[in-house]
């Protein structure tokens, strides 16, 4: 099952890249592959046994005797977190392909093939149980991102890609060194085996954490983030903030913390302090951004730091909240960036100064934007509220002041998200809004409505997800 989820998009990518199909058929084929992946993911969800441990396991020798008496295994399986991350990936890729197809991208065969390769790599890294295999997924994930950002991005894409490449490569090379060291000294790359025999030089933890914290990103390692989110095409920005950032948090939860529990616990105050600073810092900076993407970019920074707080609270409430928040924030930021993309496609800008009035006579637009904004600000009662509540409870159990300070983020989130929504939707039409700009068309609704429905379903029944995450 897991292997099928990895191979399907890869095979799809090959066909899309090689088959000399016209543009429309290429887009359709890519979309079909992505939807098939969603269906496959749904089948996995239905068959998943809550509380049944790792499932859909494949465990085979891949590279025997690595020359270091440690063999590399093709070992993939899914626990609750992997499952929901894979589902998030599938949904995010499908929605992104749909948006890209609507807008039309140059050289569609290369574009969609790269997106599908990205999907395959993400699924691999979310399911890999072998460090080398995980690293392979991690690096393959980066390659399509570099190309998608550097070739199809906006005007400042070269500088943005350069920063992104340099920053993330530094992190992942540190992780590579740590993986090699672990393999040589422990004689295995298997996650489970390494957890059973904790290995404790402090630098190992930080080598892993560096890669993950840059990707998430943890404050102050976010310098690549604003330009990457601004210069990418909207669907790539959506994937970066919705799915790829979750790979960083996933790495912390699955590898960095369990492999080095003692170091992680000893140094938790460093990470908690940075994450708290990042939460408040990101929220404050988001409040002064002049453009719609900037607000979502910095709010994404704040939210990811909140997730890090949940992870390093070292208790079950914090970790459950963090993992559930990964799902929630993934869907919310996908929706937010894709919706901004739809606005940009009509107005050519995302600057607040020249936007506004989207709600005037455009009920669909205002409704989907409103829901995205409300979930992003964690309106009480929403699924994001549930996950934030659990994270903050976890933080409060770790230290009362930490929880109380992080709770301030809720007020700040209300401030910047309402500003975002009002600037886009309220008062008169902005100068860049074409006269009589139409409401969302059925094709666009078909992209937005499923994401909204997912959010509503998560809100009505968070237990369905949370029960599988614990």
């Amino acid at each position: 099952m897991t292997t099928a989820l990895i191979v399907l998009p890869l095979a799809g990518a090959l066909v899309v890249a090689l088959a000399p199909l016209p543009r429309r058929l290429t887009e359709l084929l890519a979309l079909l592959v992505a939807l098939a992946e969603c269906i496959l993911g749904a089948v996995a969800l239905v068959g998943f046994d809550a509380g049944g441990g790792p499932q859909y396991v494949t465990n085979r020798e891949w590279i025997s005797d690595f020359g270091l008496n440690a063999s590399v295994r093709y070992h993939v399986s899914m626990n609750g977190l992997s499952l929901f991350m894979v589902l998030l990936t599938a949904v995010g890729i499908a929605a992104s392909i749909a948006v890209a197809a609507r807008m039309g991208r140059e050289r569609p065969r290369a574009y969609f093939a790269l997106v599908l390769v990205l999907e395959s790599a993400l699924v691999l890294l979310f399911t890999a149980q072998d460090l080398v295999l995980f690293y392979v997924g991690w690096e393959i994930m980066m390659i399509p991102l570099y190309v998608l950002m550097g070739v199809w991005g906006g005007a400042g894409r070269r500088a943005a890609t350069m920063q992104f490449v340099v920053y993330t490569l530094v992190g992942s090379l540190l992780m590579l060194v740590a993986i090699a060291y672990l393999g040589v000294t422990a004689g295995t790359f298997e996650r489970q085996a390494l957890i059973a025999h904790p290995h404790e030089p402090t630098w190992l933890f930080f080598a892993f954490a560096a890669a993950f914290c840059i990707k998430a990103p943890l404050f102050p390692l976010h310098a690549w983030l604003p330009s990457a989110y601004r210069e990418s095409s909207p669907e790539v920005a959506a994937l970066l903030s919705g799915v790829v950032s979750k790979a960083g948090a996933y790495g912390l939860i699955t590898f960095a913390v369990p492999l080095f529990p003692k170091t992680a616990h000893d140094w938790r105050w460093l990470l908690l302090g940075l994450a708290l600073a990042g939460l408040l810092y990101g929220s404050l900076v988001a409040f002064r951004q002049p453009d719609a993407r900037g607000v979502i970019a910095y709010s994404s920074l704040a939210q990811m730091n909140l997730i890090v707080i949940g992870i390093f609270a070292f208790n079950v409430n914090g970790s459950t909240g963090a993992t559930f928040q990964m799902v929630n924030h993934g869907v919310v930021s996908l929706a937010a960036f894709l919706l901004i993309g739809l606005v940009e496609a009509r107005t050519g800008t995302d600057l607040f100064a020249s936007l506004g009035g989207l709600a005037n006579g455009r009920p669909m637009f205002s409704t989907v934007f409103l829901i995205a904004a409300l979930w992003a600000l964690a309106v009480p009662g929403s699924s994001v509220f549930v996950s934030e509540l659990y994270i903050l409870i976890g933080a409060f159990q770790q230290a009362a002041l930490l929880g109380a300070a992080a709770a301030l983020g809720i007020v700040l989130a209300a401030m910047y998200m309402l500003r975002w929504y009002s600037a886009l939707a309220h008062e008169g039409d902005g100068s860049s809004v074409p006269h009589g700009m139409p409401d969302l068309r059925p094709g666009e609704l078909a992209i937005a409505v499923p994401l909204i429905l997912i959010l509503l379903a998560l809100t009505a029944y968070p237990f369905g997800v949370m029960d599988r995450l614990t």
Partner: protein, 640 residues
């Protein structure tokens, strides 16, 4: 599932069903049909609430804690393995009273809106939001745990945001809506942190379990007990527009009038009082904080009463009067007179909704004018409306229902410093109430008709308003009179107090106390009313009254400078910090660091690029040199 349980769920979910149906139907439903459908769903909720109240009333008389108390669980909403939040509702006398107010007054106001919003292009959306509000408010008052209460608490804030900013083409409503939401978010955080304490120390947020364990886990007056009560109070203060988080309520009058009546008078803003009554165990566990509740109430009732004296916008006068009345309720629950506070809450829901909707008819008749200085002399044209609004005014001043007098009697009977402050301030407040309530009526309906009104007044010869508007206001007037009989006092059976005895007790007072306090309260109110009619009868009298108060009037007209203070203390510094962080820390330090890194990498790559000059023989030389170095290394190593 018993019929009680089933109908409880119907009561809660009927408005939500309305939201779903109206949203999905969209423009397939005509505007008029959508309005009626929205009303039908809230009516269904009200009928279910009536049934629940009837069933509960016919359960065996209760003599102990825990009787007439039902917790119904639908499913587990959220879990982390160790800490679960069930989706459950608590049906007990207190929540039933609230359910009846919310769905009953709610239905009347939704029905009123059919006429009021007729012809608005976003009419359907308005009814979706109203139904969303009713669902949220019912969730707030019915939930059996703090997490769900907080969900309802936030969702009413959201509905309030949506409805205040309903006419979002203009800037003022949008700003008012944002202000309301952010100030309420501060309160939400307060309740959230209180929840953190409960989960940390008790591992549960269920009302009953928290109340049962609170006393033993947190000793009375301990710092944790104080913190929890204080944080809950923070939520209550924000939601109920009490000092210091009150400045959003007057601005919220930018919303349509039915919204002001429903959310910002009858139901949502009184949620803070409900919260204190519901969690009175926690407040009694922190006596200092409970006194603080009473003192905040006193401060607000006096300040808002003074500001109401000088307002000129008819809706803002009523808004400040609402703040002042909620101040009374806070004072009541702050001295432990919970059922007296709930009685004023109940009566206030009727008479204040009545006043708002009556004002709505006046505004409607004057094509949207809200300034009382441009009204005057409307009584002949709006005869029935004036009569109905007089009923509301009598309720507001406190002649009937005897709600304010019940609070004064409780304060008098209770004794002690706090209660005495409440008593004295309550009498002063009653005088202010008499003045501003009568001034409103005097300026609107009597005296010479203004030139503006001459020009703009609609022809009212065949009906003062659409029948849906008129009929609902009449029903509210009837309700105001009828609820008065629930708690007459003077030794008669206090129906409300005995109904609420175990969930929200009161301070017993003797008949002689009640005669005294009622006489004083009526006297203060009458004095205020008489002063208004005396002063406004001749301009020179008015000038005589106003002259010595000029300095105070300036302070009151500037609303005691709260908004100015917030601007300088909170908004401007926060903006400056945010801008500063972005301009200096983000641009120079964070982005600078990555620029340095990029620069170093680029330097290396440039050096490497220069070597790739394409001269094959140079490559060969480099290759040979490398091989020679390696050979030299291995040879020396072998010889060693």
């Amino acid at each position: 599932m018993s019929s009680l349980e089933a109908l409880s769920w119907v009561c809660l979910f009927a408005p939500l069903a309305g939201v779903v149906v109206l949203t999905l139907a969209g423009s397939r439903l005509s505007r008029q049909a959508a309005a009626w459908a929205g009303t039908a769903f809230s009516l269904a909720s009200f009928l279910a609430a009536v049934y629940v109240a009837y069933k509960l009333h016919h359960e065996p008389k209760f003599h102990h804690h825990g009787a007439r108390e039902h917790v119904f669980t639908l499913y587990t909403w959220a879990t982390s393995g160790s800490f679960r939040v069930p989706f459950d509702v608590l049906i007990d006398p207190l929540s039933v009273v609230e359910m009846l107010i919310v769905s009953g007054v709610g239905t009347l106001i939704v029905a009123y809106s059919i006429g009021y919003m007729h012809g608005d292009p976003k009419e359907r959306r308005f009814f979706v939001y109203l139904d969303l509000f009713l669902f949220s408010m019912l969730l707030l008052v019915m939930s059996a745990n703090f997490a769900l209460l907080l969900a309802g608490w936030g969702l009413v804030g959201l509905s309030s945001y949506l409805l205040i900013g309903f006419w979002h083409e203009r800037k003022a409503p949008v700003d008012a809506a944002k202000k309301a939401f952010v100030m309420n978010a501060i309160g939400d955080v307060g309740i959230a942190i209180a929840i953190f304490f409960m989960v940390r120390d008790l591992g549960t947020v269920e009302f009953q379990r928290v109340f049962d364990q609170a006393g033993s886990r947190w000793p009375q007056g301990s710092s944790t007990a104080n913190w929890i009560a204080f944080l809950l109070l923070l939520g209550a203060v924000a939601k109920s527009a009490q000092i210091p988080l009150h400045t959003w309520l007057p601005d919220a009058m930018e919303g349509p009038t039915p919204v002001s009546a429903l959310i910002h008078a009858a139901t949502m803003v009184t949620a803070g009082v409900y919260l204190v009554a519901r969690t009175h165990v926690l407040f009694e566990n922190a006596p200092d904080i409970q006194s603080l509740v009473a003192l905040i109430g006193v401060a607000t009732l006096l300040m808002a009463g003074v500001i109401a004296l000088v307002q000129t916008d008819i809706k803002r006068i009523i808004a400040y009067s609402t703040m002042s009345q909620i101040g009374y309720m806070f004072a009541a629950v702050g001295i432990g007179a919970y059922s007296a506070g709930m009685f004023l809450l109940l009566a206030h829901a009727f008479f204040k909704a009545l006043l708002f909707l009556g004002a709505g008819i006046v505004i409607h008749a004057l094509s949207g004018e809200q300034d009382v200085r441009r009204m005057g002399g409307l009584q002949p044209a709006l005869r029935k409306t004036a009569t109905l609004m007089w009923i509301g005014t009598i309720g507001l001043i406190g002649f009937w229902p005897l709600a304010k007098d019940a609070i004064l009697a409780s304060a008098y009977a209770k004794g002690g410093t706090t209660a005495m402050i409440v008593f004295v301030a309550g009498l002063v407040g009653a005088f202010f109430t008499g003045v501003y309530a009568t001034r409103l009526m005097r300026l609107t309906f009597y005296g010479p008709r203004s030139t503006y009104a001459d020009v703009h007044l609609h022809d009212t010869s065949h009906g003062e308003a659409p029948w849906t508007m008129f009929w609902t206001v009449t029903a509210l007037a009837a309700g105001t009179i009828v609820v008065g009989f629930l708690a007459i006092g003077f030794g008669t059976t206090d129906e409300l107090a005995s109904w609420l005895r175990f969930v929200a007790p009161t301070v017993e007072s003797s008949v002689s106390d009640e005669v005294l306090t009622t006489a004083l309260g009526w006297g203060a109110g009458l004095a205020g009313a008489a002063l208004v009619f005396w002063a406004y009868s001749r301009p020179e009298r008015l000038a005589t009254v106003k002259r010595p108060l000029r300095a105070g009037a300036v302070v009151a007209e500037n609303r005691f400078y709260w908004d100015t203070a917030y601007r300088w203390i909170a908004y401007l510094p926060a903006s400056a910090i945010a801008s500063g962080l972005y301009r200096y820390v983000e641009r120079w330090i964070v982005w600078g660091s990555v620029s340095v890194l990029t620069y170093v990498v680029r330097g290396f790559s440039r050096a490497a690029t220069d070597a790739q000059n394409g001269v094959v023989r140079l490559y060969a030389t480099a290759f040979a040199a490398g091989a020679a170095v390696l050979a030299a290394y291995f040879l020396t190593k072998a010889s060693l």
